[in-house]
């Protein structure tokens, strides 16, 4: 890993302190903050494909949903018969003790990170040979198919949904649940950031960029593009799975198409957020996700019933005025701040020539 500069260090420690203090500063907004962390993770990891590798995936929601079901299933299955838990829409009630709850969710999250990554490896091997629109359409289908299939599997509740274990009743503090999920998601966010930041400083990113810019040339230069594409997707799947697992526990109820394999919302949002902030940049998806979340939470309720119209307008505005995202726009306006040197003389002489 490259050396972290001192000024960056101040920025990072500031952000971490803010992150750790946030649930105490804005106690009432814990759930929204948790959502924010999850959204950033999703946008940031989507950016690895869509931004760095040039493979626009609509299928990352598959790993998110998978992670959600896996965490919940493991959390229940470790201590109780899963089939009975979900039977008839979850009529039977089993109660987790505090220890069982946390053990379950811990193991569940580990499983929900590893299995989606493996699935990404397997699926990636099959479909990462597709390029451009074909890949996008194929992954879009993956998410939808997964939702329909999950809606037919009885052991995970099928169409009736899966009620995840309630937070242990022995913990009397009503704020505890919110804090737990916030810190969990914040931890995953930090983990994802450190990892992505590491990738940004590595040869791996250059290879991904090479794939984006000209895959055939990259291949001709001796890069085993398939290998890197698969690994890249597995990294995303790993974090998407974790994010899904946390969200399942937070929401408390998993529905196959509306909560888990929610391609229509989460699946689109993660793409939108990355594009809004500027894909192919480290901070872009983070800024995009933050802005998007604030836009959504702030404006949504004031325009009851019209929010999707507003979202549509937002998308149009982004596409027309910020085609490269906010970061891309800033870069164009203030290139010197991004370390790009412009030869003023050269620029002027070019202008004069015209």
């Amino acid at each position: 890993m490259q050396k972290v500069k001192q000024k960056d260090l101040i920025l990072y420690s500031g952000l971490i302190i803010l992150g750790l203090a946030a649930p105490y500063l804005f106690s009432a907004f814990k759930v929204q903050l948790t959502y924010l962390c999850v959204l950033i993770v999703l946008a940031m990891t989507w950016n690895l494909q869509g931004g760095e590798m040039g493979y626009n995936s609509f299928g990352n929601i598959l790993f998110y949903g998978l992670g959600m079901y896996l965490t919940a299933s493991v959390q229940v299955g470790m201590f109780f018969p899963l089939a009975e838990w979900t039977e008839s829409g979850g009529e039977k009630t089993f109660v987790h003790t505090t220890a069982q709850y946390f053990q379950g969710i811990g193991v569940g999250l580990i499983v929900s990170a590893i299995v989606p990554a493996l699935v990404a490896g397997a699926i990636g091997y099959a479909i990462l040979g597709l390029r451009g629109h074909y890949f996008a359409i194929c992954t879009l289908g993956l998410g939808i198919a997964a939702g329909e299939i999950a809606g037919g599997i009885e052991i995970i509740g099928a169409g009736q949904g899966f009620t995840t274990p309630p937070f242990p009743a022995e913990i009397v503090d009503v704020e505890a649940r919110g804090k737990f999920f916030y810190f969990l998601s914040f931890f995953v966010l930090v983990l994802a950031f450190v990892f992505v930041k590491y990738i940004y400083g590595s040869r791996f990113r250059l290879i991904l960029n090479a794939i984006r810019d000209n895959e055939d040339k990259a291949e001709a230069m001796g890069i085993q593009t398939m290998k890197y594409k698969i690994v890249g997707w597995m990294v995303s799947a790993f974090f998407c799975g974790l994010a899904g697992g946390i969200m399942g526990g937070l929401i408390g109820y998993i529905d196959s198409t509306d909560v888990a394999f929610d391609g229509r919302e989460m699946g689109v949002f993660m793409v939108l957020m990355a594009i809004l902030g500027g894909k192919g940049t480290l901070w872009g998806p983070i800024i995009g996700a933050t802005l998007f979340h604030f836009f959504k939470e702030g404006l949504w309720t004031f325009i009851l019933g019209w929010q999707y119209v507003a979202l549509g307008v937002l998308i149009v505005v982004i596409v027309i005025y910020f085609p490269e995202g906010l970061m891309g726009w800033l870069r164009e306006k203030y290139p010197e701040r991004f370390g790009e040197v412009i030869d003023e003389k050269d620029r002027k002489s070019q202008v004069e020539l015209k």
């Binding site: 106690s27 109820y253 203030y334």
Partner: protein, 413 residues
Amino acid sequence: MNKIAKLFITFISAITLTLATISSSFAKVEDGMIVLGSAISLTGKYSSNGVHTQNGYNLAVDRINSMGGVKVGGKSYKFEIIYYDDESNPKRAAQLAERLIKQDGVHYMLGPYSSGLTKAIAPVTEKYKIPMVEANGASRSLFTKGYKYLFAVLSPANQYLEVAIDLAVEKNGGKPVKIAQAFEQDAFSQDVRLGILDAAKRTGSKIIIDDKLPKELNDMAATLAKVKATKPDVLVVSGHTKGALTAIRQISEMKVDVPMLAMTHCDAAKLSKQHGKKSEYALCASQWHKNLSYKDKFFGSGKKYDKDFKKEFGYAPPYQSAESSAALLVFKDAFERANSFDRDKVRDALKATEMQTFYGNIKFGPGGQNVAKPMILFQVRCKGDTCENKVVAPTKWASDKFFHPIPPWSERG
């Protein structure tokens, strides 16, 4: 990068400041207002029923407020509802419930539309010990979770069409029948299915088609083709409003002959209006019908409610609206009996509810479900071109005889 970082920090601190100013807490009872919260589906697949629910809530709020409001501790309070749009999405609903409670300071909740969304909200209200009276979450599993703050004014989903199977068996001379069924893959419809499974077991009937329908329901031709080929005695379809509309549209298009057609959500879909004669003979489960003889002092009778609702919103109230209005009556009654805004006292008062409303009797069982009110069945019947819903079961309120079997399409004009 550093300048960008500074920009970013400025941005974050700006948001921080804004949030800090908003997050000052609100009170739930202020200026003589009792503020209730509700996440409701104004957009998305449940939007039509979400609006029925909202209209029901609003009508009751206006009525109660104009008739003196809620009297607690010798003072009169008025109801007010904060609505959010849950977009027919459980994830959003759970988040909004949290928002209503934590940020808007709501201490009493009204339910959302549909079982799935209620399932998502109930853990939240339970955690914060917020009493919720809900009128549209009928899934049986809601009432077996040991929820203490959830009260439902409606009968559980599995009871919706059980009676229809009994009726079919009765018409078949007491012999078991062949059942074909298709249900949307959502919490409510799947619960209706459980009821049918129970009824089939009880009567020894056989289920010959058992299909699942997708959530974005607009085609069930595959199921109907099978029905045409296997000739069951009863066809049961449930999939909210879209399910009812799709079923009638395609049954009439494909001219599927089946002796008995049992459904849910016929009145919410305004079936008799939208499809007229094509929908005739459809048998529908309903929580309420305007002809029932229940009464209360706010809405008078069901017929009066029907009239007032039509005047206000321009269409006949489906049961979703009626039960939603009833939820407000229950809250009012509980507040006055508790004579306090203490949440636990209100909750205890809700638990002890035993009252009659225009919508039916309300008394909560141990799981929070309404145990005092039976389901009813009505059948769409037409005179000339005007079609109406006529109650056919139970016999106490039946205005018409159940017409069986449905004549084949070749004989229907």
